[in-house]
């Protein structure tokens, strides 16, 4: 995938344009997914670089407003990842995260943000390979969906620059 990226970039650079790179923000929990991502690093599993991880103590800390903020700031996709149900370091945090998501998803659809741009996953501290796979899948998904035009298209049309 890295080579494909580079080739596209070289061609585009030659053509004098900027190739769009998906911007994906991941909100992960410290105890499972962050540790799983660390394990992916220790195992040198390679994955797509278009992801930025933000560490939180628990997925239960995630306010849906953060996800909206991420899109507002130009994210094309968001990933939320935590401990498997039953394994939350704080017992119930991931259950609350899941419930919030269940309520939030219809709101996203209602507002017109494609809910496929937000992915939920459970990655444990022992699942380094799964983390790499999840990241690659999410980036590929968002690449296929294209840039998130919703907010930025509106800004451009109204003539407001950021």
């Amino acid at each position: 995938m890295a080579e494909h990226q580079q080739a596209t970039e070289t061609n585009a650079a030659a053509a004098g344009q900027q190739v769009w790179q998906p911007k994906i923000i991941a909100f992960v929990c410290n105890w499972c997914t962050y540790a799983g991502a660390d394990l992916a690093g220790t195992s040198r599993l390679q994955y797509d670089a278009n992801i930025r991880v933000l560490r939180l103590p628990c997925t239960g800390r995630i306010d849906p407003l953060f996800l909206i903020k991420a899109f507002e700031r130009g994210a094309d996709g968001v990933l939320v990842s935590g401990c498997h149900p039953g394994d939350c370091h704080y017992n119930t945090g991931n259950y609350h995260a899941r419930r919030r998501w269940t309520l939030f998803r219809p709101l996203l659809e209602f507002v017109g943000i494609d809910p496929h741009r937000v992915q939920f996953s459970w990655v444990s501290a022992a699942e380094g390979a799964k983390w790499a796979e999840v990241v690659n899948d999410v980036v590929k998904n968002v690449r296929d969906l294209g840039p998130f035009e919703g907010y930025h298209g509106m800004l451009k049309k109204s003539g407001w620059s950021e």
Partner: protein, 671 residues
């Protein structure tokens, strides 16, 4: 005015090879609020830490960002360095540009871009960090040890000898675990029980060890230094405080055909039983599933104490005036204990019988596993140590040992090596030859792994002195013909097929985690891997701790291991606990939640959501004592810092220090 210092580590080649650290430092200097940015080869080394300390003093830094490995690795290191320079340690953050960046992305440009972004994120966060002071909580200086095998016994003795009280909980009626089932141990061929039973007795007699046998941990709540544990004491039907262990009840019991778990189903036990003669404590328990009285009582719906069936044990009990056998003790009871630290020593199990159809394991009585062979060889076993095969009691003249039965086999879902089998199989061949001089022992192996001290010399003795026949190859099938077991295998070194007419086949089955491990791990909030072995905090540097502060691991529950390593790990866990108990108070991580009492609307959502009941209702009264309003408040001693309350609060009146809404928003905005 923020004055942030950014320190980029090369980590030797680990980061420097893929990420252009100088470029990251350059980009960092351009961020508003950053007054100092450098890169260096090894930030965590002594000169590296000095750089940070000097920079804090020289440039009067108000915040520090170290871009290096994972904070899970070195956050404490850099926070300590920051504190030593006089800056509050919670004003130091780490950007993970190694595990999450240089190690997983090959493209230098992409990795450098990402590193710059990650540094930007942490700079924005640290600008909004507040200095925090550690919270002190009292420590209950008692330890809980779960599991009474050699790991639990060692840990309990070390902690108790260190001056602290220990609660040891064991599921079976006696402590000793699997080591008590062994005949002799490698590489010394020490009699296993002879080296174990003195320790078992020491545990039982130790003034600071409280032993709960035939008990299980039911529930755990609290946190490091302050755990509350609920223990289920299973019904024994025997009053152990007056029982003398004379054994008369066991002799009298008519239910004589129950397969003994201790003898791995090779011999019987009674319904009222002590697992083995050297059991500690040597007090029997009644197995309610197999006791005639209990079975009848269950069918009739009456209580065992009132059901006048059998009762031979009761009759035989010589204790007076009150008998030790007491059928009114028929219900499980519960006790609660307060402890400050927990060591999990639940040990291992062996791969079950139904996994080896091709070897006839479970079908042919003469195909057994390693632990069953130990029981046959053991002087306290079902054959008193005579080599007699299970089917007809004949002395086997030809034994085939099959290594790696299940281990290193992706088809069986067990890719790992079980570590102990090469050694115990070599031991088995020696035990066999010492008893049956004209017998022949053949071992089918893939590799022989004898890596410990004196281990290689040991297995070579099996080959050179005791004439064990080692064949490098696997066995495809074992089947019965007459009273022989035909073993079909291959010798890969000569390239020939091998067929052996064996009297007994011993499988070195894979070591697996105990079936209830997952359940226990969830109750303790500790991690486990795909094979249900419990997860250590760091595979290299923190082998006895878990990710949950105050919960430690020792023994085979963490990964397959032999007795010397188990004992070492148990002592290691004990020493960590000694460190924990070395002061009366514990410093807690202050990244906890706080309520803004002005804006709190008292909706109590935060109280509902908290997994630890740390958020509580508080009354605010005026000077006359009249109630003005109710607000939520956070108990500093209990809050674990998960942030559920902060995310749930609709008026945003509750904030989690270190992960405030404004900080996370700033992090998002930095990307």
């Amino acid at each position: 005015m923020a004055r942030v210092g950014v320190f980029i580590c090369h980590c030797g080649e680990n980061i420097g090879r893929t990420v252009d650290c100088a470029a990251v430092a350059e980009a960092a200097r351009k961020i508003r609020g950053v007054v100092h940015a450098v890169d260096y080869k090894y930030m965590c080394s002594s000169p590296g830490q000095n750089m940070i300390r000097d920079a804090i003093r020289q440039h009067k830094l108000t915040g520090v960002v170290v871009a290096a490995c994972s904070p899970r690795m070195h956050e404490p290191t850099f926070r300590r360095a920051t504190a030593e320079a006089g800056l509050n340690p919670f004003l130091c953050e780490m950007a993970n540009i190694r595990e999450h960046c240089s190690w997983v992305h090959e493209d230098r440009a992409a990795a450098t871009r990402k590193a710059i972004d990650l540094v930007g994120v942490m700079v924005e966060k640290v600008k909004r960090n507040q200095p925090l002071l550690p919270i002190r909580v009292p420590v209950t200086r008692r330890a809980l040890v779960i599991g009474g095998g050699i790991a639990g016994i060692q840990a309990a003795l070390d902690i108790a000898n260190g001056g602290h009280e220990v609660i040891l909980v064991e599921r079976d009626a006696s402590i000793g675990g699997h080591m008590a089932q062994l005949s002799e141990t490698f590489p010394t061929l020490d009699c296993s029980q002879c080296i174990l039973t003195p320790r078992m007795v020491e545990v039982a007699q130790h003034p600071r060890i409280k032993l709960y046998v035939y008990s299980e941990v039911e529930a755990v709540s609290g946190f490091i230094g302050n755990f509350e544990v609920k223990i289920r004491r299973k019904a024994t039907s025997v009053d152990s405080s007056i029982c003398t262990g004379c054994g008369a009840c066991q002799a009298a019991c008519p239910m004589a055909k129950i397969p003994s778990e201790f003898n791995r189903n090779l011999g019987p036990r009674k319904a009222i039983y002590s697992p083995f003669p050297q059991a500690v404590p040597n007090k029997p328990v009644v197995d309610q599933e197999n006791c005639l009285r209990y079975k009848t009582a269950k069918k009739k719906g009456t209580k065992a104490a009132e059901t006048k069936v059998c009762g031979k044990c009761l009759e035989a009990c010589p204790i007076a005036p009150k008998k030790a056998v007491d059928f009114s003790l028929c219900e499980d009871t519960f006790v609660t204990e307060k402890v400050g630290a927990i060591v999990v020593c639940t040990g291992f199990d062996l791969l079950p019988m139904n996994q080896f159809g091709e070897y006839g394991y479970g079908k042919y009585p003469d195909v057994i596993d390693g632990l069953q062979f130990e029981r046959l060889a053991s002087a306290s076993g079902p054959t008193q140590g005579a080599m007699k095969r299970p089917s007809d009691g004949k002395e086997p003249k030809e034994i085939v040992f099959i290594q790696c039965a299940g281990s290193r086999d992706n088809a069986k879902g067990i890719p790992y090596c079980s570590k102990i089998c090469c050694m115990y199989t070599a031991k088995h061949t020696m035990l066999y030859k010492h008893k049956v001089h004209d017998g022949r022992a053949t071992v089918f192996y893939m590799d022989v792994r004898a890596a410990g001290k004196n281990y290689d010399e040991f297995w070579r003795r099996a080959v050179e002195v005791d004439e064990a026949n080692y064949i490098r190859g696997r066995v495809s099938k074992v089947y019965q013909r007459g009273d022989k077991l035909i073993v079909k295998g291959v010798d890969t070194l000569s390239g020939e097929l091998v067929e052996i007419n064996a009297d007994l086949v011993v499988l070195a089955t894979a070591m697996v985690a105990q079936p209830k491990t997952e359940h226990l791990a969830q109750r303790l909030s500790i991690g486990y891997d795909a094979h249900k072995f419990l997860s250590e905090a760091h595979p290299k540097l923190r082998p006895v701790e878990t990710n949950t502060a105050g919960v430690f691991l020792a023994g085979a529950c963490q990964a397959p291991k032999d007795i010397p390593d188990t004992v070492a790990q148990a002592s290691g866990a004990a020493s960590k606990i000694q460190g924990l108990f070395s002061s009366q108070e514990l410093e807690r991580d202050p990244t906890i939640a706080h309520v803004n009492e002005t804006t709190c609307a008292a909706c109590w959502y935060c109280v509902d959501v908290c997994p630890y009941q740390a958020t509580q209702k508080k009354e605010i009264k005026d000077r006359q004592g009249k109630l003005v309003k109710m607000v939520a408040t956070v108990n500093e001693g209990v809050c674990q810092g998960c942030g559920l309350c902060a995310a749930t609060c609709r008026s945003k009146s509750i904030e989690l220090d270190g992960f405030k809404d404004e900080q996370i928003c700033a992090e998002i905005m930095a990307l």
